[in-house]
């Protein structure tokens, strides 16, 4: 009987099933116990120092070799080795490393005890360090992603690590543009008009969300990350009270210590994108236009230029050889080959009692759309030192600078792509003097009216070259944060921890479009102060284990923003704020503003475990939130968890193959986000008045806010099971949850006698139900080969269950390229409404034509709901799609053969529809090849808005994608005996299976609410295919 364990966080993340957890920083090592008879057996138990507690899955390594093992669930280990002198290195997360020299000349039994590294039980470690044993993890679906995954990501974006790894986390790479473009939704959309983004906590410190621009953790260096924990359910996020409702992502960075070592890595990658729309070339376009005008009776116009007289209506331009010019596909002009390079240098270890981790990273990424790039510089320093035997201090500094250049899609997608392809093919090749006239030709084809009412027309004079090379949309971000932590160990049971962190974040965004005299600048900054005081207590006596924590935390931020925007009209500049889109933060409408938030919480957590079978945990979080002038709220968030490990029960003790069988139920409450100043009245200082014989500025309220606004609150009940069997070679997990949201924030019109406008009100209730399943199998576990396969599946159904005033919230737009949406009681969230397209009328079978609900509009057939009316009109709109996936799944395979390893990650999103506005726009402007046949077929009705609001452009955007395929080779032999090295080759998005006809089914845009985001592809920046090679040296 032997036990083989993988230490392979590099290749795969093994979630915490409650018992076994492999953790080995950075290295891919495989140890196999040799059963040869001329070897002696070392066996023993590893315990927590000063107690009888055993440590499960502690690591025992033979120094200087790759051999080692982990302790089993009784804290025991055994190793067979040839006689000789060895040093056993025992490590366990949250404990000090212990080196035990042994002389092996007989079978040995050792009892090793490890000392707790108290100072590491910081904020994160409440969860993270106790992955195996910490009571709080039991009975709660908390999942981890190890540094092995995060450190080897293709792009330097920590959020990428969440792609397809954890059931219940719907992570969308919304844009292939360089820089951070992830949209993470944990267990559904937790808010419609508020922020649905999870809370990020980096090294215990809360990352503020002020608006869309400061969101996230793009400033982090992936190489610094040690562990990511995802708290999905409200029973765990109750710890974060007002901030926990959308799920919490805890990120723990490297702390240093141990052996001194230096690590250098270099990465080079290229990205390519080859999918194209089928667009007409210049010749085809002009032919079609001519035909269209003749057959369909196009609007009459003439090209008249005073200096040149009348110009030809359908001008052809020929090159010197007489061939039509402008027949190239303009898409080739937009897309290029992206490239990426990264340098990372880090050092860690311990010098004169000071543990340190230092790193610097430079990341440079050029996107697949011309003239888009992103750069990131990060610097991290983490040092800690013991002062005496009881006190430990830690200093942490993180600094970063990011430069985005044309990579930020503002509201409604990427202009270069969207407008670039909606461009008359011959336009670019016409002489300058008639450019302006040419555009008339360009949009007359389908009709001025449609083009005017959509976004496309606004840039009609901009050629793709101008769009690509003349616009400068840049943003520079700076982040600096410093943290000081002091840990004082009163005695072996009691620990006091104090942390304070101060951080400054700011960015400057500027958008310059010289040809249109548009200048926009916005700046935003936030100062964050975060303080935490913890008292932790741990005690075991007999069969009882008690862990308790009391915490007081104080979070404060002060965010401020300023928007300068000037648009030049004929002869004066006037300010315009429309270009700045800031969702969930109403107060920033207008030229600027600020918000000051204070959040103080008193938290009590107690966990009790009896005989390691019965576990119960309570969290109480009494929080007080102060924001702006009106928000003064106090609330109690609580949670309870019960876990029962059946495998330890007597009646199952005889079942040898069952390793663990945990059943749990939990319940908890958490709040959604701070209100982001939504309860502050909006003022404008735009007024000018000619009073006092001089012109003076004035200010005033222009939109009242809801002074009684409260946060959204989620109450969740979760039940789950975790089963591990056959020596942990088969693991099953499942969770079922019901989340209920009270006080859902929705728009509500303000009565006209209060000035009109819209504000937010807590007028709804929403319900999510979901199922998450996971399966992990180790089919092959031989000496040299290990194959681990893992699959996850999750589904989430979401309904608005109640609207207090019963009035549905309708999101309609006059833009033909923006579908309609509706939020109503008992309707699934994310429904897209429009006309149901049935086909060309003449192609419909006769019996179908006679049906009452088939309506004819010109030559096209649509579903008719209002059968009393013959024409197709507003009342015939129906649900034509849903933008929220029915289920998502992932499948991860990792294979290790000697020094080679391979990982493959598949990610699937199924049952999601998207309105392909990019394609629809090419129909309006008339250069899509699909239109040609319709025009030649004399189909009428393709110029009408109904066609563009129909299901003709709603497509199934389900996809299955091979997100990652990675091969790596890490020889055991070091260069010159001391430099370890590893080389790896990685592919991204190599295979995508989808029926979606657009560029990328995954890419989407940013709209004014959370559920229409995914419903539209409006020139979304596609995710490219990538090829990466990286090298890693360790000294």
């Amino acid at each position: 009987m032997y036990r083989i364990l993988i230490i392979g966080a590099l290749i795969l993340q093994i979630p915490s099933w409650g018992h076994l957890k492999a953790q080995e920083p950075g290295l891919t090592e495989l140890s196999i116990v040799n059963q040869s008879m001329d070897k002696f057996l070392i066996s023993g138990t590893i315990r927590r120092e000063g107690s009888e507690d055993i440590l499960v899955a502690a690591e025992i390594r033979i120094e200087g070799t790759v051999r080692g093992t982990l302790t089993d669930d009784r804290g025991k280990f055994s190793l067979k080795l040839k006689p000789g002198n060895y040093i056993l290195v025992c490590t366990y997360m949250g404990f000090k490393e212990k080196r035990v020299p042994v002389t092996l000349d007989r079978d040995l039994t050792l009892d090793i005890s490890l000392e707790v590294k108290e100072h590491e039980i910081g904020e994160v470690n409440v969860i993270a360090s106790l992955k195996k044993e910490d009571p709080i993890v039991k009975g709660r679906p908390i999942e981890n992603i190890g540094e092995g995954i995060v450190n080897t990501l293709n792009t330097n974006d920590v959020n990428d690590a969440l792609h397809g790894r954890i059931p219940g986390v719907w992570d969308t790479k919304i844009s292939g543009a360089p820089g951070d473009h992830n949209r993470i939704r944990i267990r559904g959309l937790n808010s419609i008009f508020g922020s649905p983004d999870p809370l990020y906590v980096v090294d215990g410190m809360i990352i503020p969300i002020v608006n869309s621009m400061t969101l996230g953790i793009s400033d982090l260096n992936t190489h610094d990350v040690e562990n990511i924990s995802v708290l999905k359910d409200a029973s765990s996020t109750a710890l974060y009270g007002y901030l926990g409702g959308n799920g919490v992502i805890l990120i723990d960075t490297k702390k240093g210590g141990g052996r001194n070592r230096l690590n250098f890595s270099y990465k080079k990658g290229i990205q390519s994108f080859s999918k194209r729309y089928d667009l007409m070339n210049s010749e085809e376009f002009l032919n079609t236009t001519e035909t269209s005008d003749r057959i369909l009776g196009g609007p009459q116009f003439y090209l008249y230029i005073p200096s040149k007289g009348v110009m030809p209506k359908y001008p052809r331009y020929l090159d010197p050889e007489g061939n039509p010019i402008g027949s190239d596909d303009q898409q080739e002009m937009l897309f290029t080959t992206g490239s990426l390079s990264e340098y990372n240098l880090s050092g860690q270890g311990s010098v004169k009692g000071i543990d340190y981790y230092l790193s610097g990273n430079y990341y440079d990424h050029h996107g697949i759309v011309e003239n888009t790039h992103y750069k990131k510089y990060t610097l991290t320093a983490n040092v800690s030192r013991d002062l005496g035997t009881k006190l430990r201090l830690r200093f942490l500094y993180k600094g970063s600078h990011q430069e985005h250049y044309n990579t930020l899609d503002n509201y409604l997608g990427n202009t270069v792509i969207f407008k670039g392809i909606n461009f008359e093919p011959s336009f670019n090749y016409t002489p300058d003097s008639i450019r302006r006239q040419s555009f008339r030709l360009y949009y007359n084809f389908i009709g001025t009216q449609l083009a005017r009412s959509s976004e496309i027309l606004h840039n009609y004079t901009l050629s793709p070259e101008t769009l690509i090379w003349d616009q400068e949309k840049s943003r520079n971000d700076n982040n600096h944060s410093g943290t000081i932590t002091g840990t004082y160990k009163i005695n072996s049971d009691l620990l006091v921890n104090a942390t304070a962190s101060l951080s400054f974040r700011n960015y400057l965004y500027s958008s310059i479009l010289p040809v249109q005299n548009q200048y926009l600048e916005s700046a935003e900054g936030v100062i964050v102060l975060d303080q935490q005081y913890d008292v932790k207590y741990h005690k075991s006596f007999g069969n009882h284990t008690v862990d308790a924590m009391v915490r007081y935390s104080y979070y404060r931020d002060n965010a401020f923003w300023k928007i300068d925007s000037l648009v030049n009209t004929v002869n004066y500049l006037y300010p315009s704020y429309n270009d700045v889109f800031l969702r969930g933060s109403q107060a920033v409408y207008g030229p600027g503003g600020s918000v000051n938030r204070k959040l103080s919480s008193g938290i009590f957590n107690i966990n009790y475990n009896y005989r390691k079978r019965y576990f119960i945990s309570f969290i109480c979080n009494y929080s007080s939130l102060r924001e702006g002038h009106y928000v003064k709220r106090n609330n109690l968030f609580s949670s309870v968890t019960v876990n029962w490990d059946l495998a330890r029960e007597n009646f199952l003790q005889s079942v040898q193959w069952l390793d663990a069988f945990n059943l749990y139920v939990n319940w908890g409450q958490a709040g959604n986000y701070p209100l982001n100043s939504l309860s502050n009245d909006l003022y404008t200082d735009d007024y000018l008045y000619a009073s006092g014989r001089q012109i003076t500025g004035g200010a005033g309220i222009f939109n009242l806010a809801n002074h009684f606004l409260v946060h959204e609150e989620v109450t969740e009940t979760n039940a789950g099971a975790r089963i591990s069997m056959l020596g942990d070679r088969l693991k099953l997990g499942g969770d079922y949850y019901i989340r209920k949201y009270n006080d859902l924030l929705l728009y509500r019109p303000i009565p006209p006698y209060y000035g009109g406008g819209l504000f937010f009100d807590n007028i709804g209730e929403m319900k999510n139900t979901g199922l998450e399943l996971s399966l992990e199998i180790i089919p092959i576990q031989r000496d040299a080969v290990i194959w681990v396969t893992k699959a996850g599946f999750s589904t989430n159904e979401q309904y608005v269950t109640d609207l207090h005033d019963g009035i549905p919230v309708e999101l309609t737009s006059s833009d033909p390229l923006y579908p309609d949406f509706i939020i109503d009681e008992n309707l699934p969230l994310g429904d897209i409404t429009g006309y149901k397209y049935l086909g060309k009328w003449k192609e419909l079978p006769e019996n179908v034509k006679e049906e009452k609900d088939v309506g004819k509009h010109k030559d096209l057939a649509y579903l008719r709901l209002d059968t009393a009316q013959i024409r197709i009109y507003e009342n015939d709109k129906t649900v034509i799609g849903n933008s929220i996936p029915e289920f998502t799944f992932n499948w991860i395979n990792s294979l290790q053969y000697k020094n080679f390893s391979c990982e493959m990650l598949w990610y699937g999103v199924v049952g999601v529809d998207k309105y392909n506005a990019t394609k629809a726009a090419t129909y309006i402007t008339g250069n899509h090849s699909g239109l040609r046949s319709m025009v030649l077929d004399t189909i009428q009705g393709i110029r009408d808005q109904i066609f563009y609001e129909s299901s003709f452009f709603v497509e199934d955007a389900s996809f299955i994608r091979m997100k990652t395929l990675r091969f790596s080779y890490r020889p055991s032999r070091k260069i010159a005996g001391r430099v370890g090295w590893e080389i790896s080759l990685s592919f991204e998005n190599l295979i995508t299976l989808t029926r979606y006809s657009g560029y990328d089914p995954e890419a989407s845009i940013y709209t004014d609410n959370t559920f229409t985001d995914n419903a539209m592809d409006w020139g979304a920046y596609p995710n490219p295919r990538g090829y990466f090679i990286s090298m890693n040296l360790e000294f």
């Binding site: 600020s594 702006g628 200082d685 014989r693 005033g700």
Partner: protein
């Protein structure tokens, strides 16, 4: 030891950095400086300017067209088709532009009134009360009984009050303003512009006059109107009020501050945002080519029948202007409009600087109340109280004299006949008021409402005006009051 000291120092630093934050995050809400109060006041005046746009005067100009119902949008075919894209134009009164800025004024005033204290900021508080009262008075005259909102916490359950409650509220505000405002013009925040007690008193007299008429018809209020207007007239030298000799000079943009202004809004041509651009309205039929409908026609019809004197000449100006006639014969702008809206000579002079639309405008002051009106109010309300003495006659005669271009203080041939009956006298004053205030913000329309004249009005329409029929459902509406926009 060094470590420990350093550590403790830095710890103390970080743990105490709460003081980095500005305690006062809601700068706009807590008025901590006089400048912020002034900003809000300026904002209110700027919004008051927005009320008096084309929509306001269109609403007034429908006075005599009894077939036009207040809430009926009618799309006028303003221009003949086939000439550019100007073939139709919606000229239904845009009363939302009247309602919304007034509500915003009330909102901002409410916000300040809730925060300011009478002792410290009496002069500002008085001005806010005054402005709130004025906004409610304007709302009441257009919409009858607008919701009374006194706070800034949005409530969905505010009920429409009775018209009387609205006037009581306005009265209260003006009485409070009277207590708080400075005594006379010279102590006003901006002398000659911002309100003082004389302004509040004059407005109060107008409020009582309206209160006494339709829809409340509380005749007892005439006495109060007499009292307040009488006080203003007798103390006119203290307040600095007087009639100007030359009627026409009132609307010269150079004549911005003078004795006849009681309350007005001011413009400045030098900035595009503060220009008086009410002259963008026009009366299309004056151009031979385009004899088509306009909402201004009823008012213009009335104007055409005014007594022919210097007042009539100085009330309207007809200037036609064509842009680029050689290129586009359709592209012309006929800027015939009242001189009481803009200084027409200057307006078109500015216009001709550049042919680009958007450049024109003037600095002409728009009078929301002038001394002449107070005289007429005094005269009418006094007559209604049955007092037909010399001072009653004198007040209206002053107006008549000036209208005919003679010295207002010297008796002349234009004076009313003595010994008219009460009814005859009132009738004369009402006509005088209509002619005197024609095209002005407090023009004839409000008298039609106040005196319930609907059934006595002739139907002023030109034969080329577009024929239309009002749909049945609108005929039930109150002809005098607009519906509050939803």
């Amino acid at each position: 030891m060094k470590y420990k000291t350093l550590t403790l120092l830095s710890l103390a630093l970080v743990f105490s950095c709460d003081s980095l934050f500005h305690e006062d995050s809601d700068d706009y809400i807590v008025l901590d400086s006089e400048q912020e109060i002034l900003d809000i006041l300026n904002g209110i005046y700027a919004q008051l300017v927005q009320v008096y746009d084309e929509g306001y005067f269109e609403a007034l100009c429908r006075a005599d067209d009894i077939n036009l119902y207040p809430n009926y949008y009618f799309l006028w075919p303003e221009w003949p088709s086939g000439c550019g894209s100007y073939y139709s134009h919606d000229y239904a009164p845009n009363y939302e532009n009247i309602y919304h800025p007034l509500v915003k004024i009330i909102l901002n005033a409410n916000s300040e009134i809730l925060q300011l204290s009478g002792e410290k900021d009496a002069i500002f508080l008085g001005e806010f009360y005054f402005l709130r009262a004025y906004a409610y008075y304007t709302l009441a005259r257009f919409f009858g009984n607008p919701h009374l909102v006194k706070d800034i916490d949005v409530s969905y359950t505010v009920q429409r009050p009775t018209c009387e409650e609205v006037y009581e509220f306005i009265e209260q505000d003006l009485i409070r303003a009277l207590e708080l405002l400075p005594l006379t013009n010279q102590y006003a925040r901006i002398p000659g512009e911002t309100p003082h007690q004389g302004t509040a008193k004059s407005i109060l007299a107008e409020v009582y006059l309206s209160w006494a008429g339709n829809p409340i018809n509380d005749g007892a209020r005439y006495r109060k109107a007499v009292q307040h207007s009488g006080e203003v007239i007798s103390a006119r030298s203290m307040y600095g009020y007087d009639l100007l000799d030359d009627y026409g000079s009132l609307w010269k943009s150079t004549n911005k501050h003078h004795a006849e202004t009681i309350f007005g809004i001011y413009y400045d041509y030098s900035n595009v945002a503060t220009r008086n651009r009410i002259g963008d309205m026009f009366v299309g039929w004056l151009n031979d080519r385009f004899r088509v409908s306009s909402h201004y026609h009823p008012e213009f019809y009335f104007y055409e029948r005014m007594p022919n004197n210097s007042r009539k000449i100085n009330s309207f100006n007809n200037i036609e202007k064509r842009y680029l006639p050689s290129v586009d014969p359709c592209f012309f702008i006929n800027r015939s409009c009242s001189t009481k809206w803009v200084d027409t000579t200057e307006y078109f002079l500015n216009d001709s600087i550049s042919n680009i639309p958007g450049r024109y405008g003037t600095s002409t002051t728009l009078y929301l109340l002038r001394y002449a009106q107070t005289l007429l109010t005094f005269s009418e309300s006094r007559a209604r109280c049955g007092i037909l003495d010399d001072s009653t006659y004198e007040a209206v005669n002053m107006i008549r004299r000036r209208a005919n271009g003679v010295d207002p203080y010297t008796p002349s041939e234009f004076d009313l006949e003595k010994n008219l009956s009460q009814e005859q006298f009132i009738d004369s004053v009402v006509w005088e008021r209509a002619w005197e205030l024609n095209f002005e913000p407090n023009g004839r329309w409000f008298d039609i409402v106040r005196l319930d004249l609907k059934d006595k009005l002739p139907e002023y329409r030109y034969d080329f005006d577009f024929p239309y029929e009002v749909p049945e459902e609108y005929l039930q509406d109150n002809w005098y009051f607009y519906k509050i926009p939803e």
